[in-house]
Structures are given as C-alpha cells and as structure tokens.
Amino acid sequence: MAQFAALTHKDHQRPVRYLVVDDSVFARKNLARMIEAFGGQVAGEAGDGRAAIDEYNRLKPDLVLMDITMPQMEGIEAVEQIVRQHPEARIVMVSSVGYQDNILSALQRGARHFVQKPVKPEVLYEILRYVLNDQIAAVAVESGDPGL
C-alpha cells in the first residue's frame, strides 16, 4: 500500500479513532488495515447497525465507517439513530451498492460522505481528510501515492 501522511487529532495530538461497521469480518480487516496506514486507530468494530449504535455510545469515535446492507439493522437506519442522538457524528458510508437513491438516502439521514467498494486507499484517505477537516492537524506531507 502507498505511504500516507498520518491523520492525527489536532486538539489531543492522538491518532484519529474509528469505529468500523460491516457484517463481513474480511471487509472490516481490510478497512482496519487502511486506517492503520493512515495513522489512525480502530477503536471498535460492529457487525450490524444495532451494535454500531451501542458501540458509538460507548466509544464516541471521531469517525465511523458504515456499511449499508447488514443483518439486524441496516447502515442507513443506524446513521439516522446515531445522528439523532449525536448531531456532531461523522459517518462515512462504505458500500458496494452506489446508486443515487442509496447515496441520497444516507446523506439525508446525516452521513457525511460515501465511498464505493472495492475501496481504494487513496480515495478513502482523501474522503477522510475532507470529512475530518477541522478535527485533524494539518497534514504536513502530501500522500506519496503516485496514483493520486
């Protein structure tokens, strides 16, 4: 994977803390690997929307990566409930299904952005920088990925 300048929290000088929500262990591992490459920390994981709400309340992560199609409760409904309780929540949807109705529905319920699977690390990195915006310290070195 390409080298990325670390994204650190500007106030606390600590890694950005993420909650990764996906019913696929494989997908969670893949996202966790990217988060670590971005200098972040996986604070927790969840396999469905209901568990995501519980974990958000417990961990208060800086950012959530949320799948859409999951058992028990789907990602879009979980976004709605989390944002209702925590309007400051920063949630990025990560799904293989990227048609406009789906994206619009997620954004209307409070998601900040959308990235389609398979996730390209350089694309996710730029989206995280954009969504975290005022929460992260200035990134001193640009991504070394020549594919950008």
């Binding site: 696929s24 494989f26 893949n30 690997r33 058992p71 293989s96 048609y99 389609q116 398979p118 390209k120």
Partner: protein, 166 residues
C-alpha cells in the same frame, strides 16, 4: 439473456478481480449451460428479485481466494481458513453491488439478497426459461468463474404498465 443485462456484471467482475488481486485479468472460456451447476472451487451465490430476477454465482479456486484475502488483509491467509470463504462472499458482494449500481442507473429496480456460500457439489440449474452464461476470468493466481442466469421479469413490467393511468 440480453447482453445489456450481462455486461455490467462482466465489467464489474473484471474490475473487482483486477483491483483486489492487483493484477490484470483476461476473459477465458464463455459458454451457455442449461444443466445444473457444478462448482469448481469456493462459490458464493446471490439471488436477485424484482424487475430483474435470477441468480449469480461467483466461483473461485481456493488459492485465488486465499491470495485475494492475503492482499486485502495484509497478512498471509491459508486456503482452508474461514476468512477465505468469507472473501469469496465479499468479492461477490462487491462485484454484484457495482453491477447493480450500473443497472439501477439504467432504470432497473430489484432487490439483491446477501451472498450465501454455495457448498453443494451440484444443483442450481439455470432458471426455467433462461440458460446460464458461464465465463471464466484468468488471473496469475488462478481462475474465477462467473455464472449468470438473469432475465427481465415480464409479469412485473406488464402489471406496472396496466396500472398506469390512460
């Protein structure tokens, strides 16, 4: 089966395999089959229902799936681990999700069931009036097979047309 329905799945399979395995893929054998499907490796099946109906099977050699799992998780994964089985389901999920996005943008609406592991040695023939298209994608790490049996749901379309105001 119409090519307009198949092409998004073919394009998506090519793109998802190339990206996850980080290599070029080439399309190998293509055939139409009416008989029951006999899996060749680790297979995931996805059912679709709505304006389009049918099923898609992604069938991958274990070593190919293990390679994809190793690349994406950043650690060596053995062919027999559960993670490899889940890799096939997630690859099917990505492949079909990308194709669904394309078909949805063309105006087709349908529901996609979550991928399930297809463990039977055979079974799952083509649908009543649709043969299955089987095509292989060759990679440096082994072969992946895509088996598509999809058709437009004519009854749904005619029902919807009948409900339209004159």
């Amino acid at each position: 089966m119409k090519m307009e329905l198949l092409q998004p799945f073919i394009n998506s399979a090519d793109a998802v395999l190339a990206q996850t395995l980080q290599c070029a893929t080439t399309v190998g054998d293509v055939s139409m089959e009416a008989e029951a499907y006999r899996r060749k490796g680790l297979a995931a099946i996805v059912q679709i229902r709505g304006e389009l109906e049918g099923r898609i099977i992604l069938d991958i050699e274990p070593r190919t799936a293990a390679k994809a799992a190793s690349i994406l998780t950043g650690s060596e994964v053995g062919e027999t681990e559960d993670l490899v089985r889940e890799t096939v389901c997630e690859l099917a999920n990505m492949l079909i999700g990308n194709a669904v996005t394309s078909l949805n943008d063309q105006g087709f609406h349908f529901k996609v069931a979550p991928p399930e592991v297809h463990a039977a040695e055979e079974g799952l023939g083509a649908t009543v009036d649709t043969d299955a298209l089987v095509m292989s994608f060759e990679t440096p790490y082994g072969i992946a097979y895509l088996n598509l049996a999809i058709r437009k749901n004519q009854r749904r379309r005619s029902e919807r047309a009948a409900r339209l105001p004159m």
